[in-house]
């Protein structure tokens, strides 16, 4: 057994920042199923949004409003205001920790345009994204990891959390599997923070890493913690055709243009003011529509059709300096040089707006009335504050990591300085042990690859960019069936040490639970809002639906509830650009 005041699960941007903060006040350790520098924060490209005003006038007010409108008014406005205000301090803090931002000639942090970010409440695009070439996430991850090393943070690398200990609404620790030995370990703690990232691997084509399997959301969900807004999943408009590898919105921020088979700048029809810098959900739908109307490059309206992202007019010099990584992806994987030819792009499953519900200090809530567990926290993509509402603006995810990762870490630090270790339930380690034993026992069902494929196909076809009741109803049934079959899955490889096969089976179980929850929530919400677009309910219906969804997983049933949205500052309006 290990004992720490504070445990951080996940070593991406949110987890590492929280560790730095909590570590000031209590004995802290980070558990990560990956080596920290492999975390998916490192794949983020475009930038951090913050109203520094280094290049043109900007205000946190404008940033907050853009975030609220970008979220189609499902964003909790107090959370957005806090994000935008604290973003400025947070970016300077990162730079003071050494982050190598790209610079203006005057020596300040450089900023560029990004989708949905405007000046003066929607007047025109504004340069708000603070960036480091197209490797901003890589720089953040490296910088925060370096700071953790500098401050002696303890790491348990390749430890996979498979259960959380919650007793009488208090969190007392986790059970983790050590990949190297195959042993289970009890980690006792006064407080635990989950920062385990997204779950893009529910879908077939995704920008997400293999590792993004929603582990935090699933583990908590199975222990009676509700999940919020799981129906809202963002499809980034510009993934590389066929591969899903992300091509940053920053290309469009630098002036790149989306074109259909006729060479038209089709966003003129869908978002006359912001054009190619409209919010992502709108552009993903626009691309989907262009393809369906046979104006995709192949012109066959198939799932394999795509459009062009044209950046050739930016020139080799700008591309080389500001967009070197995506240029390399394009050359490596498609043999296309963006300085010469347009890049073939199609929407790719990218980001979970929903997740573990928290208050503004990262404390996990157990109901709609703002009541929180003691000693349980969540931050980053796996959490839902809600800062992003029904759709996330680009650059707001990296801000969220450092603003809310820090707030959660701080609150944790204060909490553990005063709290005692909570009592554990009797036989707290039993369920985890039984689960592992079952996986390793004799049985018919092999590893589960077929279930994975079926889940991804179902989610992609029926819970994707455009949805309808009939397909989603079928999807819920299919996913229920897959979950039943999953119970029979056994590990083919029965070894103990470095058994990545068992890890994949555990991850599949997490994805199946979360896919069922997502599909159920999507079926229930009979309106279109943000990234949740239904052909059978194409309008936004604030009267009935201006509220967050809460979902509890009770054995094999998903039970739904709702939670109010904070709209204290701006009255919800139609979302046009």
């Amino acid at each position: 057994m290990f004992e720490y005041d504070a445990l951080i699960i996940g070593a991406g941007g949110a987890g590492l920042y929280a560790a730095l903060e909590a570590g000031k006040k209590g004995k802290t350790a980070v558990l990560s199923k990956l080596y920290p520098v492999r975390s998916h924060t490192g794949a983020a490209q475009g930038g951090i949004g913050a109203a520094l005003g280094n290049v043109e006038e900007d205000r946190p007010d404008w940033h907050a409003f853009d975030t609220v409108k970008g979220g189609d008014y499902l964003t909790d406005q107090n959370a957005a205001i806090l994000l935008a205000e604290d973003a400025v301090r947070a970016v300077y803090d990162l730079e003071n920790k050494g982050l190598p931002f790209s610079r203006t000639v005057a020596g300040l942090i450089d900023q560029r345009k990004f989708g949905g970010h405007t000046r003066n409440f929607g007047e025109a695009p504004v340069r708000r994204s603070c960036y480091a070439a197209d490797r901003t996430g890589h720089m953040i991850l490296q910088t925060l990891y370096q700071q953790c090393l500098k401050n002696g943070v303890a790491f348990y690398n390749e430890f996979i959390v498979i259960d959380v200990l919650i007793h009488e609404n208090k969190c007392g620790g986790v059970i983790a599997l050590d990949l190297a030995t195959g042993e289970l370990h009890l980690f006792r703690a006064k407080a635990v923070l989950f920062a385990t990232g997204g779950l893009g691997r529910m879908f077939r084509i995704t920008s997400n890493a293999y590792a993004n399997t929603g582990d935090g959301q699933a583990v908590l969900s199975r222990k009676g913690v509700p999940l919020e807004d799981m129906e809202f999943f963002q499809f980034h408009p510009t993934g590389m055709h066929g591969l899903g590898i992300l091509i940053t919105e920053g290309v469009r921020g630098e002036g790149g243009i989306l074109r259909n088979a006729r060479g038209e700048r089709f966003m003129e029809r869908y978002a006359p003011t912001l054009l190619d810098l409209a919010p992502r959900d709108m552009i993903a739908r626009a691309i989907h529509t262009e393809i369906r109307k046979l104006r995709g490059i192949r012109g066959d309206g198939s799932v394999n059709d795509y459009v062009h992202l044209d950046a050739a007019h930016l020139g080799e010099s700008v591309i080389g300096e500001k967009l070197p990584d995506i240029a390399e992806f394009s050359r490596t994987y498609l043999g296309i040089d963006p300085a010469e030819e347009p890049i073939p792009v199609q929407p790719t499953a990218h980001y979970a707006m929903g997740g573990i519900p928290t208050d503004l200090d990262g404390r996990v809530l157990f109901n709609a009335r703002g009541h929180a567990f003691a000693g349980l926290y969540a931050a980053g993509e796996c959490a839902c504050v809600s800062v992003h509402g029904a759709n996330r603006l680009g650059t707001n995810s990296l801000v969220e990591l450092i603003v809310y990762g820090r707030r959660a870490g701080r609150h944790m630090g204060q909490f553990v300085a005063e709290a005692d270790f909570p009592a554990l339930a009797p036989d707290a380690t039993g369920p985890a042990k039984n689960r592992m034993q079952k996986l390793k026992s004799e049985g018919d069902g092999a590893g589960g690859e077929e279930l994975r494929k079926k889940m991804q196909d179902t989610m992609t076809a029926s819970v994707g960019i455009y949805r309808n009741g009939e397909d989603m109803t079928q999807a819920v049934d299919t996913l229920q069936e897959l979950r039943e079959r999953y119970k029979e899955v056994r590990a083919v490889d029965q070894s103990k040490r470095f058994n990545t096969h068992v890890l994949e089976i555990l991850e599949l179980g997490n994805l199946l639970d979360l896919a069922l929850i997502s599909a159920t929530c999507a079926l229930k919400r009979t309106e279109s809002r943000g990234a949740h677009a239904r052909r059978d309910y194409p309008e936004r219906k604030d009267g009935r639906w201006l509220k967050h969804t809460l979902a509890w997983l009770e054995a094999d049933k998903v039970v739904l509830g709702d939670k109010p949205v904070d709209i204290s500052r701006w009255k919800p309006k139609a979302r046009t650009y």
Binding site: G98, L108, R135, L149, Y210
Partner: protein, 242 residues
């Protein structure tokens, strides 16, 4: 096309020695080697031990030796390593580190060497709460080191570590030190000096260039090491003259 993938296997629970296993598989020429390995794992042999995550060359998880050269499996296209039907691709774990299982190696020593050089920002004390000033040309000075994803390819490729001196600090640690030493905002070069300036440190490098060839991020590693050697010599000269 049909290809044969020959993978070095080693299970610490059952094997005394590593051994090769062959897998026949269908693969698209433009697909990634990682995709093929994951297909083998999913459909033929779930016990294959492999580290992977982002699948597009930014996380550094899947560095391995492919046909004798260090590559990231997710940045290697099949057509680059298999020319025609029936071609054999040989896959081995990274070198210079103990094998944990199959293609997974123990990176402890690599990360210990990295930590050794104090690879973090050591700025001067600063007033105000805005950014340090840094011009675009100052920013370019340390650009090379910022690209490093700690994938271990350079450490694996280094012939000095393999044949001459297993205690050599290794290329990545030096590059990471340089990233800070060359950063106009950093003041930590004095603290890092002792961590580089010793026989098994920077001076063990023999400019063999294998690191530069192996780096999937195109970092000019040998050049960076040599510039750092020069910088250290100059610093020591200045210290003597005082």
């Amino acid at each position: 096309m049909k290809i044969v993938v020959e993978i070095q296997r080693f299970n610490p629970e059952t094997d005394k020695e590593p051994h090769l296993m062959r897998y026949e598989v269908e693969a698209e020429p433009a697909s990634r080697l990682l995709t093929v390995l994951m297909k083998i794992k999913a459909t033929q042999d779930p016990s294959l031990g492999i580290r992977r995550s982002c699948a597009h060359g930014v996380c550094g998880s899947d560095a391995m030796v492919v046909n004798g050269k260090e590559r990231l499996a997710c940045k290697t296209l099949i057509k680059e390593v298999a020319e025609k039907n029936g071609a054999v691709i040989r896959i081995e774990p990274l070198q210079n580190l103990p094998v944990q299982r199959d293609l997974m190696v123990d990176q402890t020593r690599f990360f210990a060497n990295y930590l050794h050089v104090k690879p973090y920002f050591i700025p001067e004390a600063k007033s105000g709460n805005r950014e340090f000033h840094q011009t675009p040309s100052e920013r370019k000075e340390y650009e090379e080191g910022t690209k490093c994803i700690l994938c271990v390819s350079c450490y694996s490729a280094c012939p000095v570590i393999r044949d001459v001196n297993p205690d050599f600090l290794g290329p990545a640690a030096i590059v990471q030190a340089a990233r800070f030493n060359d950063d106009s905002r950093d003041r930590g070069i004095g603290k890092r000096l002792a961590r580089l300036d010793y026989p098994d440190g920077i001076w063990a490098c023999e400019s063999r260039f294998e690191c530069t060839r192996a780096c999937p991020r195109g970092i000019k590693i040998t050049k960076t090491i040599n510039l750092t050697k020069r910088k250290i010599k100059e610093l020591r000269e200045n210290q003597k003259m005082k």
